[in-house]
Structure formats: structure tokens, C-alpha cells
């Protein structure tokens, strides 16, 4: 459906998107993940022919965004970060207008408008002015606009930004209900959104592609080593020595922030080893007091932070111990 090769966008001397390459198959739901300013919006704008790439190539359904923009635009439904709404129009009027400029014939546009309004649950407000709508409704009108011409590809830029939790759940449900009929790319910096809706994740940071994989694989890849948090009352060096000698323990590190007389460690297990009970036994048998012992789970948040804070990690010694970044499998320039 989408093929992107070495896509680059420069603004003057600043590079917003730096040689990104990926591929999206028909029917996939792909999450575009990255901190603000990572280049998500710019990439999406290049795919939707709003911005021309400075370098590289992107094709949608076989049509190049530079050579055949009209064909690309016909196949894309795009919801920008701020829904592009005309406040002085009524909802139905607006949706119909967008249907017309997206090439729906006059004969079908009325029927199609009614369908989309139904689909996006806008029935109650169909005759209201857009200016009077709440944020959640506006977002749905924006989505209706993206869906009106029934495009094979939907590109949604932060579809849940600024919504309240209930609206977020509703919007996610709506997006999930669209899967199957449409290929969907959505960008977000909210991680649960990705794990709950997407089959594949593309993480970008500073304009560069950091990782591309399924949520499960990403978690697995980084979670091969279990890390355990231990808070012990006793002599720090001795404890560290003891823990390091335990079978199955890979690395032991002392952390700051312990209360006086106590020490905090992060113990990393060797691959596929379970070490929590051994640690507990060893500490207690040595006569030290065990205050806390818990696994440091690796949520999507951690993965995200690990992947996107790579650069800072090299610079600041405090974070230098964080896990090395997973290399990008697609060979995006690093």
C-alpha cells in the first residue's frame, strides 16, 4: 500500500525527516510513534502530498506522491492534527462539501454523507454549526471528512489529541471499527493507543526511524533480560558482591536515592533466567533486611523512552546505564 524509501524533508538547514524507509501492507494498522517534533506530522504531510519531499521516494498504491499527486490524494483520507473545519458551516453541509471536492459525484454525495454521519455518530449534530461543537465532535467531523470518499488509506495525525478519556475510548473504538476496510496510519505520542489499536509500530525520533515492528516483538526484543529492583538494609559493597555471584544474574548496579543504611540495586538477569527467588533467599540468608523486591517491567512506555532517549543517554552519565538501543531492522540511517 505504502512504500517509503529514504524519505527526507529539510527546512533550510534543519532536517525534519531524515532518510526514513518503511513499508505498509494493505489492511495494516500502523502506529506512528514519537515525541513531539520527531517528524511524524512532516512524514504524514509528505505522504498526503501536502509537502513535497526534499529527497527520497514515497508511493501510495503504486502512485508516486510527486509524479501523481492527484491519484494519491484520491486514495487518502487525511485527518490533520487540527481538524480542518470551516466553523461557519453546518456539519452536514461541511461533510457534503468535502465529499464533493474529493470527487464524489453529485448523485452519490447525499447518500454518502448520510452514511458517514451515521458512522461517526454525528446524527445529533448534523444541522449544527461547526463553531458550536465540542472538541470531541469536531474531531469526529474531521474523521468524517477523511472517510467521506471511502479511501483505501487513512492517515490520522494524533486523532485523540486533546480529547477527554471517554472521547478517547470512543474514537479508538471508531478507528478499530474501520480496520479491515482501510489501511490506517495513525500518529500519536500516547502509547496505550498504539498497543490497543495497532498491529505494527514505527518509532521515529529526531526525524530518524528508530524501530519498526509489532508491539509484541518490540516488547520481547527489549525484555529478554528481566530487571529486578532490590532495596536492602545492609553493607552495600558486600551485598553487591553477593548478588553478582548468584547464578543467573548478569549485571548488578547500585542506584542512588536509598535511605541511610540501605542500598538500592537494579539486578539484571541473564537471558530467560528467573532470579527473583534466588535474590530473596541470598539476602535473607546473609542476615540483611529485604525491604523491597520487584520486577522492573518493561512497558511500551519504557521501550519508547529507551528508544527515543538514546542520544541523551550517551551524553548524560546518570542515564548511561540504560539499555542500548535496538538497532533498526530496516537500515534507516542512524
Amino acid at each position: 500500500m505504502i512504500q517509503v524509501e529514504g524519505l527526507t524533508k529539510r527546512y533550510g538547514r534543519a532536517t525534519a525527516v531524515d532518510h526514513i524507509s518503511f513499508e505498509v501492507k494493505k489492511g495494516d494498522i500502523v502506529g506512528f510513534l514519537g515525541p513531539n517534533g520527531a517528524g511524524k506530522t512532516t512524514t504524514m504531510r509528505m505522504l498526503t502530498c501536502f509537502l513535497p519531499p526534499s529527497e527520497g521516494k514515497a508511493t501510495v498504491d503504486g502512485f508516486d506522491v510527486l509524479e501523481n499527486p492527484m491519484e494519491v490524494k484520491r486514495r487518502i483520507g487525511y485527518l490533520p492534527e487540527t481538524p480542518p473545519l470551516y466553523p461557519e458551516m453546518e456539519v452536514r453541509e461541511y461533510v457534503e462539501f468535502t465529499g464533493r471536492i474529493k470527487g464524489i459525484s453529485s448523485a452519490d454525495v447525499g447518500k454518502r454523507t448520510a452514511e458517514v454521519i451515521e458512522r461517526c455518530s454525528l446524527g445529533d449534530v448534523r444541522n449544527k454549526l461547526i463553531a458550536k461543537l465540542s472538541k470531541g465532535y469536531r474531531q469526529r467531523v474531521g474523521l468524517a471528512q477523511a472517510l467521506i470518499h471511502n479511501p483505501p488509506l487513512l492517515i490520522l495525525d494524533e486523532p485523540t489529541a486533546g480529547l477527554d478519556p471517554k472521547q478517547i475510548i470512543e474514537t479508538r473504538k471508531l478507528i478499530r471499527s474501520l480496520a479491515g476496510e482501510h489501511t490506517i496510519i495513525l500518529s500519536t505520542h500516547i502509547l496505550p493507543e498504539v498497543s490497543s489499536t495497532c498491529e505494527s509500530i514505527i518509532i521515529i525520533n529526531n526525524g530518524k526511524l528508530e524501530a519498526i515492528d509489532t508491539p509484541e516483538n518490540l516488547t520481547a526484543r527489549l525484555q529478554g533480560h528481566e530487571t529486578v529492583f532490590v532495596d536492602v538494609e545492609g553493607p552495600a559493597e558486600q551485598i553487591a558482591g553477593k548478588l553478582a555471584k548468584l547464578a543467573g544474574v548478569g549485571r548488578v548496579e547500585q542506584r542512588e536515592g536509598a535511605r541511610s543504611g540501605r542500598a538500592i540495586f537494579e539486578v539484571e538477569a541473564a537471558k530467560d533466567q528467573y532470579v527473583r527467588s534466588e535474590i530473596a533467599t541470598a539476602v535473607v540468608q546473609s542476615g540483611w533486611k529485604l525491604h523491597e523486591l520487584r520486577p522492573l517491567g518493561l512497558s511500551l512506555e519504557d521501550i519508547f523512552l529507551k528508544l527515543t532517549t538514546h542520544d541523551q543517554a550517551v551524553e548524560t552519565p546518570a542515564a548511561a546505564s540504560s539499555e542500548p538501543v535496538a538497532e533498526s531492522p530496516t537500515g534507516g540511517a542512524q
Binding site: L51, K73, P80, E88, F97, T98, I101
Partner: protein
Amino acid sequence: MSNVWTLAKRELNAYFASPIAYIVMAMFALIFGYFFYAATASFMSQSLRAAMSQGGAPPMNLNDYIIRPLLGNASVIILFLMPMITMRLFAEEKRSGTIELLLTSPVTDLEIILGKWLATLLLYAGLLAVSLLNIANLFLYGKPDWRALAVGYLGLILMGGAFLSLGTFLSSTTKNQIIAAVLTFGAFLMLWVMEWITFFSFGPVAQALAYLSITSHFESFSKGVIELKDVVYYCSFIFLGLFLTSRSMESLRWRS
């Protein structure tokens, strides 16, 4: 081309949904009405004096004494009001982000530009219709030459189209409506006063500037004469304005 009409309708809808259209129309009706009153009142006092003078002055003509100066005045009124119409065309869409909808929909730049320009032209035609209400009174009490009048209005349409194309272009250069309005107003004013140079200078530069002045080409229209050079001037002006707009949209893509 159905896209052009769809876009023009939306644009017109925006003018009438906000008070812009009504305010511009009301101001135009007020000022034009005042000029109409002044022209007819002075016509009446002059013709009364002519009738009383001995030897009988030649009969006075409605077209020459009322319609012609009135159309000339109308051209100045619209010069002041047009920036209010064109300033929002692109600036507002750029500010609110709706430009993203237009540029990612399968419509061409040309269709967008023509749609916007056509909408302003129709609104402008609405203004002229208001002025015709005044002029219609002349037909109740006299017999002005309607052909000369029609040519005058054709001239107003062409001149307005030229103003509007330039306004469209200037609106596309910024996302700030006030900047667009000031630029447009300044440009229109310059294009008007440029012909005044011939009052004190007669060299080739003065001639060229006078030729370029947008209002000087209206002169013959207001007399009821269609001159090819004036039609060509206005048509090329419109073309240039719309062409520059399309260049500006292109650069918007590459720069932003």
C-alpha cells in the same frame, strides 16, 4: 470545473455566514447612494439654471452628467472596499489550517484559485447590483442611454476582476489577514494614483505609469466606449494576478 463551483459556493457561503458580505454591501450602498444623491441634485440645479439662461443652453444628458461621474466614483469606492473582501481568501485558510484540506484533496491549485476568485467576483457583482437600484431611478424619470450604461458596468466588472485577482494574490502571501488587507489597499491606491503623474510630467516614464494605472483604463468604459486596449489590459491584469497566486501557492508548498 464542477470543483470550481463547489469551492466558489463554499467561499460565498462564508461571506454571507459572517457579516462581511452584509457590511461591505451596506457601506457600498450608503456611499454610492450619497454620490448618487449628490450627482442628481447638482444635475437638477444645473439644468434649472440652463433652462433659465437666455438663448437656451444645449440639453443636458443624463449619461454625461450623472452616470459617468457616478461610475468613476464607484471605481474609487470599490477600491477602498475590495481589500475587505479579498484579505481573508487564503490568509484565513492558512491561519486555521483548512488549507491542508484543500491541498490534500484531489483538486488542482487552479481550481482552488478560480473558485475563490469567482466567489469574490460574484459578491462584487452583488455590490454592483445594489448600485443599479439607484441608477434604475434615472430610468423612471428620464431616458439615459442603457447601452452606454451597460458598457460602464462591463468596465466595472473587468476592473473589479483585476482588483480581485491582485487581492487574491496578496492574500496568498501571508497568513495574517490584516497584513493582506494593508498590502492590498496600498497596491490598489498606488495603481489608482499612478495616473496622476501625467498632471505634472509628460515624459515616457509618466506615460508608462499612466498606462499601468488600473483606473485610467476605466475612462473610456465610463463614456460608453469599449476600447480593445483597455479590455486587453484588464484581462492580462486578471491573468497575471491569478498566475502569481498559483506561483505563491506553489512556493507555500515548498517553503512551509
